[in-house]
Structure formats: C-alpha cells, structure tokens
Symmetry: C2
C-alpha cells in the first residue's frame, strides 16, 4: 500500500491540512513543523495520489494524444518529442489511435475527456474538424487546418527541396505523392511546384494511381525525384539501383521526414526533417497556456530542416563551375 496523506498526518500528530500545506507551501506552517513534516514525507517517499488530487483540483496532469495511426513510421519521433515535452512540464501522456476513422476519433476524444485529460493534442484524420471540445486542444496537421494548429511548414519544405536540387543544376523533376487527399502531402507538392524556376519543369505522380517506372523516367530525362515521404523515396532509390542506375550519379532522390532508416542506407537519403521537439514543445506550451486561461494564440509554423546526405548530387550534365551548394555537411538549416 502506498502511504497516504492521512497516515503521515497521524504519524506526526498533525492534521492533513498541515501536511498538504507543507507540500504546496501555501498555508501558514511554522518552520519547525514544516521541517518535521517534509522530513517524514521524504522518509516514507510520499507522493500525493493522482485521483484524489484530480478530483479536488479538476486537473489530472495528463494530456491526451490522439493519432490516426500509431504504426506510422513518423509517429515514434512525434510521440517521443511530445512525451518529453509533456514530462518536462510534469504532465503524462495518454495515447489513443483513431485508426484513421472519424467515428473512432470522436470516441477516442470522448474517452480522453472521460478519463480526465486536461488537454488534447490531436493529429486529426483526414477530413475531420475538431471542434466543440470542452477541453483545450491543439491540432498538429497542415497549415490549412482551421483552429489552433502547430505544424511544420510543409509548403516551404517543398520549396527547400526543389531549391536544393535547382542549386545542383537539376531542371527536370518527378514529384511523388501517395494520396492527394492528404493535406500534408498536397502542401509539400504545392510548395515544390511553386519553387520551380523558369526552364525547370516537373511531373507529378500519385502512388494511389499506381507506381511509375522510375528507370523509364530517368531514360526520358528526369534527373531528380522528390517524394513526400522517405518511405517512397526509398522505394524509388532501390528501384533505380536495381535497374542499374546510379544515385546520385544519374538521378538524385530526396524524401521527407528523416525516418529511422534514411541515414543508414547507401547512399544516405537526403531529406527534409520535421523539427519534432520544436513542434511538441509548442503544442504542449500552448496547452499549458490555455490551461491557465491565457488568451488563445493562433496557428504556428515550424520550419523544416534540409538534411543533405548522399542521395542528391549535381545533375549529370551540370558544369561544376562553382562549388555546388552545401553537400557533405550533416545538417543545414
């Protein structure tokens, strides 16, 4: 059995109120009693129990995290960042998987409320609006999401990818997305298209329509492939290698999200990484502010970081007149 406030109080012959006051440093307690009590607290390793405190104060010290798909390879980084940020401010994280289903998502939110979560961080499933929550909530999605939203600047990320390749002399791109209904992917691709310089052009492929023949693309003059996820960049990369093409000799490949494997393959995958710690910190901070009934701020964009590895290089026919942009450095901002 865990020690309770009552036991400490009885053992010292004081009231529970006094012990509670010592814990919080709030009421009036003599230095002598204070020392006595805190000594005892340390001795028995007492910690105030969650449920009792939650009941009285209306705060559980727990935040809900609702995701559309826990098994998504992007999730570990996000979850870890959020857990770390939350723990830093003394809060726990209750997770739920909405399985990309709006109904399940609504149910998950209800359970969070029921379990007494103080606030909610949600990565909404496609096409859902988060509203009417009796709790502070922050959304992590794309910038086009209404409501309090923290997310990477996916559009600018797309631009960064294209700019990096333009610097390397590439002019003919293939853009690779999975699903056009994903606003994150749409934002990224929109950014890429916006960044195309005069003379450069790009063809866009959606994997939901089928996988293009990468070797054929290369034969037709494409020298750079940009995928909205490292997963698909990896597919492209290995297909190209399998067809006897060199990366980055013949074709440069760049992905998004810096997944676990991206640094470990040969060549390393150049990618645009999300700054998860930053996003998580902002999300948690935002919730904390709302919990103190502070004014509700607005959407916040976090820049993505270009991580240059071996999978991108100068275009095959590109004259190396000047040094071709940052190359071997590990991370550039």
């Amino acid at each position: 059995m865990q020690p309770r406030l009552k036991e400490i109080a009885k053992a010292l012959g004081v009231s529970t109120a006094t012990v509670s006051n010592v814990l919080s440093g709030k009421g009036r307690v003599s230095d002598e009693t204070r020392k006595l009590v805190s000594e005892k607290i340390r001795e028995v390793g007492y910690r105030p129990g969650g449920p009792g405190r939650a009941l009285r104060t209306g705060r559980s010290g727990v935040l809900g995290l609702v995701l559309p798909d826990i098994s998504n390879p992007l999730f570990p980084a996000l979850a870890q960042a959020i857990e770390t940020a939350a723990e830093r401010s003394g809060q726990g994280i209750l997770i739920a998987d909405s399985h990309a289903d709006p109904g399940a998502q609504a149910e998950a939110l209800q359970r969070m409320i029921q379990r007494g979560a103080d606030g909610i961080i949600i990565v909404p499933c496609r096409g859902t609006q988060v509203s009417d929550l009796p709790l502070p909530a922050v959304v992590i999605d794309s910038a086009s999401t209404p409501g309090n939203c923290v997310c990477s600047d996916h559009q600018r990320g797309g631009q960064q990818a294209v700019e990096h390749l333009l610097d390397l002399g590439h002019r003919k791109f293939a853009l690779l997305g999975q699903s056009r209904r994903s606003s994150v992917q749409s934002d990224r691709i929109a950014g890429m298209q916006a960044a195309l310089a005069a003379g450069a052009h790009a063809e866009t492929f959606w994997l939901e329509d089928g996988t293009p023949d990468f070797a054929e693309l290369a034969r037709r003059g494409t020298t750079a492939i940009i995928a909205t996820s490292d997963l698909h960049a990896l597919t492209a990369l290995t297909r190209l290698q399998d067809a006897g093409l060199s990366v980055p000799g013949d074709v440069s490949v760049i992905g998004f999200d810096d997944l676990s494997f991206s640094a470990r393959i040969t060549p390393g995958l150049t990618t645009l990484a999300q700054n998860m710690p930053e996003i998580a910190a902002k999300a948690v901070a935002h919730l904390s502010l709302q919990l103190e009934s502070a004014p509700l701020p607005m959407a916040r964009l976090v820049p993505m970081e270009l991580v240059v590895r071996g999978s991108t290089g100068p275009a095959p026919d590109f004259p190396p007149r000047k040094k071709p942009s940052p190359q071997q450095g590990d991370v550039t901002t």
Copy 2:
C-alpha cells in the same frame, strides 16, 4: 461543463445512488425508473467521470506503458498493438520513455503509480530488474528475464532464420548484432548458432565494435548475412548493392522485426516478424487477470513468423535439384 451524476439525479428528482445503480445494473431499481434514467443519460450523453470513480473504486482504467526508447522503429507496432488490446478491454494507455536510463525508468514507474495506473507493461532497459512494484506488472523483453514476461521466442527466431537459409543451400554465414548486452539480440544470435548444421559455419560481428566490410566478406565466401534488426540488414543490403553485388544472387540477406520499410525496398527484405498483436493481447490479458487477483501465471513465448521476400534466395552454387523451400509465399508460419 460535462454533465454530472448529481445533475441527472436532480433533473429527474431521484437520488444519485439510483442513477449510479442504473449505470451499473447493480442495486434495486424499478423498470420504470430504470428506463427513465437511462433515457436521460443517453439524452445528455453522460459518462461517469474518471477521477471520481477512480477515487472510490481504486481503479482508474489506465495501464502504464514504459519503454526504453519510444523512437525505436519497432515501437509503433508494439504501441499500436498494446493500445488496441487495452482499448478492447476498456483501458487507456499512459506512455513513458525511460530513455534507456535505469534512474529515469524508476522515476517513470513512480509517476505511473502516482497517476493511478492499474497495472504496468514495461520493456525494461538493459540490466534492470523490475521488482517491488505495488502494482501488477508484465515485462516484455527476452525469455531470460525473470518475472512475469511475455515475449517473442527470439532464440527460436534465430533458428528459423538459419534453417531458412540452410534450406536454400547456404553454408557460410555472417551474423550481425548491434550490442552484446542486449539480451534480445544475444538470444537471437544464440538461436542462430545453435541451428548451424554440420558443415556450416558462421562468423559473428557486433556493430558496437565497428561495421564490417560486407563486400570483403562476400569475397571471402560468405553467402548469407543475418542481422538482428532490419535496420542493419538494410545497411548490409545497400552496401552490397553499392559494391556491385547482387542480392540475393550473390548474397542473401535476412533481418528481424519487419520494420515499415522492409516490404517497400527492392528486393523486399526477408525478415522474422514479431507477432505484436499476440504479445500485446497476452500482456494485457495477464494484467487483467492479476487485477482480478487471479493466480499469477508464468512466462509466455510467442513464436516469430518468417516473412519471405526477395532478399533471400538459393546459394550461388546450390544445385536446384528440389524446390528450394517456400519462396514466393508472403508469410509462412
């Protein structure tokens, strides 16, 4: 504001006890009142609040999940399986990251207790013993872990990998681990070594000592590489391809854990997958049993599944006299 028991009771002119009885179906309530109350409950969408119930019953309906590294690529599958299994039995999941640090792990466990978790599922960090918890706990690790443990049969998994390759005619293996202090990896490699047939032999490499030159290994006659993780199998695979060697033509490669990318590269990575749903279900069921003060069962091993993809094939000089074991099938048990 969420509706409370009291409000429902007052609105109907009954006592809170009656409403609670209707909710639980326990006390004595007339059919008429019962119908009236449940109608109202549905109308306002009432759900009993967690903290109050937790305080009274001593049960929060939440399980703690403590992991040494949330960002590990194996985590998504595990977390999702556990979340699903827990939700199925009406429990939530509180996560914590011990950052592979025994001190942080102990602290995380304390926080779980403090927050009122009913039980704990823990993947312990290396070299730590989980004991003296005032809560039901179940460990997910290797079979050598004392205490209530549920885990994959890593040793048998190692055997399965070797047997698969022996069937394909391979005789000279390179075994690849990351750290010898990981009991999971040690178990897997021990299983591999135990399965070596007469005439076959294997060299073991630990990446913590440095990365071997895979092309050189191939030149010296190695035809099969078994890594204890898909991550390292992927490294080996791309290094080999980069050196102009064919997989599986010259060298077969096999990994562990069936990570997200393993099916998407070319060739697909043959791997030994953990049955996460099974492990999670057993862990959660075990905790549920302990919560009902049932007798404490013992360690439980879950078999691993060999997933055959393109990265393994017949040894270069292997005469295809009979059909070389299951090959194109997706999953064999």
